[in-house]
């Protein structure tokens, strides 16, 4: 079962490259044959010369980041990107979601679909797609949303898991809140699951737990890749009966799960907690079968209408992950994202109320109506999550 990754925009391409790096090094170890082979089959394909090429399509509106990622991949020696699997233009999107969604996306639709199709044809069995993007920029968010829509149209029965990188609250791009609102509102309808990494949270991990002084985007990306790989690498699900679950996306992704993870086994601290819709706990490493996970089944953290037995999924893998003796990843569909989402929508709304920068969007075909629709749907999401406790 294979997964095709679509890396979109600067962030998507950088994170994607780090992800493949982590996965390939993790699968390197020869001791764990099944694990390695499943992992390799999932993310790479083997060429006639024995090289591993990533099952990925790289899309960006400027060539710099793609070239950089491809070079870094080739330098690693373990894997690389296929020569023809990238698509880039010269001019960029100017951080304008409307430009990406209405103009550049449709313009380059055929080329990108062709690349994806070729990648899909190389797969024996297609498990699904993972578009990776940031929600704040122009290419990743705008073109990314359009590409997700195309994937949905062309492969209606495939799983689409969007990996989103959330910008810093005090972010670099002034219209990032507009871009984020528009992206999320559209992806809510299109995607099967949204997996979100917040730059702020990852930054905190870097500074507090990894004790890094100068935190660069590369560090952030590595942490993100590590967490993501922790989710996507093979694991034993309850119904896989001892073999690695073929489908890595075989969990009940319902709505928007943001991950909170730790480098070591951790337990969820009660008090000031967020109510969860559903949780996925993935344990890897030593003593995985004897781990005490009762804390996660506390009914207090779940909603009343979904019993903990259904809401909690537990995956285990005795194989240590990424040189950690023990590791745990928690993917949570809960109110944890409520605050950042609320903040973001509020800021976007304040800007919208004074119609700041709207003309740049209207210029490319996104009207105020579209903005209002997006705001409405996100408000609905926020209110549903806010009422989760009952």
């Amino acid at each position: 079962m294979s997964v095709v990754t679509v890396q979109l925009g600067q962030c998507g391409n950088q994170v994607g490259q780090e992800l493949f790096d982590v996965i390939s090094s993790d699968a390197q170890d020869g001791q764990r044959k099944t694990y390695s082979s499943v992992s390799r089959e999932r993310f790479f394909r083997q060429t006639s010369q024995g090289d591993f090429e990533a099952r990925a399509v790289l899309v960006d509106m400027e060539p710099k980041v793609i070239n950089h990622s491809m070079n870094r991949a080739a330098k690693s020696g373990r894997w690389r990107y296929a020569e023809a699997s990238h698509f880039s233009q010269k001019q960029g999107s100017g951080n304008n979601w409307a430009n990406g969604f209405r103009v550049l996306g449709p313009r380059h639709r055929d080329a990108v679909e062709e690349l994806v199709r070729r990648e899909v044809e190389h797969c024996d069995v297609l498990a699904g797609f993972i578009p990776m993007m940031s929600v704040a920029g122009g290419t990743g968010s705008g073109v990314g949303t359009f590409v997700t829509q195309c994937l949905r149209d062309v492969y209606p029965s495939s799983f689409v898991l969007n990996h989103l990188t959330w910008p810093y609250g005090t972010g670099e791009v002034i219209v990032q809140n507009y871009n984020s609102v528009l992206t999320l509102a559209h992806l809510y309808q299109l995607s099967d699951a949204l997996l979100v990494h917040e730059n702020d949270a990852v930054h905190r991990i870097c500074s507090q737990q990894l004790n890094l002084k100068q935190i660069s985007f590369g560090d952030l990306n590595r942490v993100i890749a590590h967490q993501l790989a922790g989710v996507l690498q093979p694991a034993l699900t309850p119904d896989s009966c001892g073999a690695y679950s073929g489908n890595p996306l075989g969990i009940d992704w319902q709505v928007r799960p943001p991950p909170a993870s730790a480098g070591r086994t951790s337990s969820l601290t009660a008090g000031g907690f967020n109510a969860s819709l559903a949780n996925l706990l993935i344990l890897r490493g030593k003593d995985v079968y004897s781990a005490e996970t009762g804390g996660f089944e506390d009914p207090a953290i779940y909603t009343s209408w979904l019993p903990p037995a259904e809401a909690l999924s537990l995956w285990k893998s005795p194989v240590p992950f990424d040189k950690y003796e023990k590791s745990a990843t928690l993917v949570s569909n809960s109110q944890a994202l409520l605050r950042p989402l609320d903040d973001m929508v509020r800021k976007a709304w304040n800007m919208f109320a004074s119609r700041a920068y709207i003309h740049q969007y209207v210029k490319f075909g996104i009207s105020e109506e579209d903005f209002l629709d997006s705001f409405t749907s996100l408000e609905q999401v926020i209110s549903s999550y806010a009422q989760l406790q009952c």
């Binding site: 069995v125 498990a127 099967d192 073929g246 909603t303 209408w305 009422q387 009952c390």
Partner: protein, 388 residues
């Protein structure tokens, strides 16, 4: 002439054969033979049983007649068929029991044509395909029975949404697992050297043969439908000829009953038309002095007489055509236009001209009425005109 007629006859027989094949594949036994169709066209026994049965089974299967009605009227095929046809919108005289003497199997043929035109074949096809094709999921779900006192609270709604998503997800996982299994099976089968006969487990083979049989039937049905569709046009031209025959028959019969009767009816119609054209001119004089809005808002009417000759000529042409039918022995002489008669194209042209003239007159009248209305409004002060 004879050869082409014969060829046409063979063609028609083939077409009707296709229809019979389709009806048989749809499970409507018994189906009359194509010969029976041809005989029916030329007015066979009115008690032609196969057609009654055919019509009744069509009506029953396509759901036009409910099963209760059919069980009530089990013995009386005629009533059943009449009820069903009336239900489907076919109002023929013989259904109402009138004109019993002229009823023949041609009428049944026409009724069948009506049902076919209504699309009953497609309905039957859809039903039968659903029966035969095991892999189809039932398209329209049964109307869910909702109890009146269903409490919908937010929690159960949410749980429902969750379950829906869960189900959808499981379905997708299942699809991909099946795909993987197929792939593995393919690998196994392609790599194995020995192709042994498939071990037939005793239980499953019966089901398989059943499946096989229904698939075969399905294929036959679809085949029959496609071949029917290809020749359908010929069938309708043949049906036209049946209808024409019936019309001639009718005219013959009615004309033999009383020429004056029908002509008189035509004359009455003409007189009424003239009255209508003349009448409004008188009404208009009444309107002009009246301040009553109700009268003023009468629909615009013709103020001048239509050139009556053209209408008269049309009527006369039709009557002449009828007379000609009664005297088929006249042959080519009937083609010459008698004085006062109009051949059809000229009559049509005249009528079109008359129509445009009338429309123009109507518009002018409308304009005049509107001006009149405005004048009236102006004259009445302290009153407001509210248009509805």
């Amino acid at each position: 002439m004879q050869r082409s007629k014969a060829a046409a006859g063979v063609e028609v027989k083939r077409v009707i054969g296709a229809l019979c094949r389709l009806l048989a594949a749809l499970g409507l036994d018994p189906v009359p033979a194509p010969e029976a169709f041809r005989r029916a066209k030329f007015g066979g026994r009115p008690e032609g049983d196969p057609f009654w049965q055919l019509l009744s089974s069509i009506l029953h299967m396509s759901g036009i007649i409910s099963s209760e009605t059919s069980s009530q009227l089990r013995g009386e095929l005629r009533k059943l068929v009449a009820a069903g046809l009336w239900q489907s919108g076919y109002h023929a005289d013989w259904i109402y029991g009138a004109d019993a003497g002229s009823f023949c199997s041609r009428d049944l043929l026409l009724a069948l044509g009506w049902l076919l035109a209504k699309g009953v074949l497609e309905t039957l096809l859809a039903g039968r395909v659903e029966q035969l094709d095991q892999t189809l999921l039932s398209s329209a779900p049964e109307k869910p029975e909702f109890s009146a006192d269903l409490e919908l609270d937010a929690a159960s709604l949410r749980r429902l949404q969750w379950l829906m998503g869960h189900l959808r997800h499981r379905g997708r996982t299942l699809l991909s697992t099946i795909g993987a299994r197929t792939r593995a099976l393919h690998e196994v089968l392609s790599s194995s050297q020995v192709c042994s006969a498939a071990p037939s487990a005793g239980r499953s083979s019966a089901a398989l043969t059943e499946d096989c049989f229904s698939l075969q039937q399905l294929c036959e049905l679809l085949d029959a439908y496609v071949s029917w569709k290809q020749v359908e046009k010929v069938f309708w031209t043949w049906m036209d000829s049946v209808a024409d025959r019936r019309l001639c028959d009718l005219r013959d019969r009615t004309s033999s009953q009383g020429v004056s009767h029908s002509l008189g009816a035509c004359h009455q119609g003409k007189q009424r038309l003239e009255e209508m054209l003349r009448g409004p001119a008188q009404q208009q004089d009444v309107k002009s002095g009246d301040a009553d809005w109700a009268v003023a808002s009468l629909p615009p009417s013709l103020s001048s007489r239509l050139s009556a000759p053209s209408v008269h000529q049309m009527c006369r042409a039709r009557l002449q055509a009828e007379q000609r039918l009664r005297r088929p022995s006249e042959g080519p002489h009937g083609g010459a236009a008698a004085p006062g008669e109009l051949p059809a194209p000229q009559a049509a042209q005249l009528l079109l001209q008359a129509e445009t003239e009338l429309l123009q007159r109507r518009d002018r009248r409308r304009l005049a009425n509107r001006k009149q209305l405005q004048g009236l409004m102006g004259s009445l002060d302290q009153q407001v005109f509210i248009a509805l």
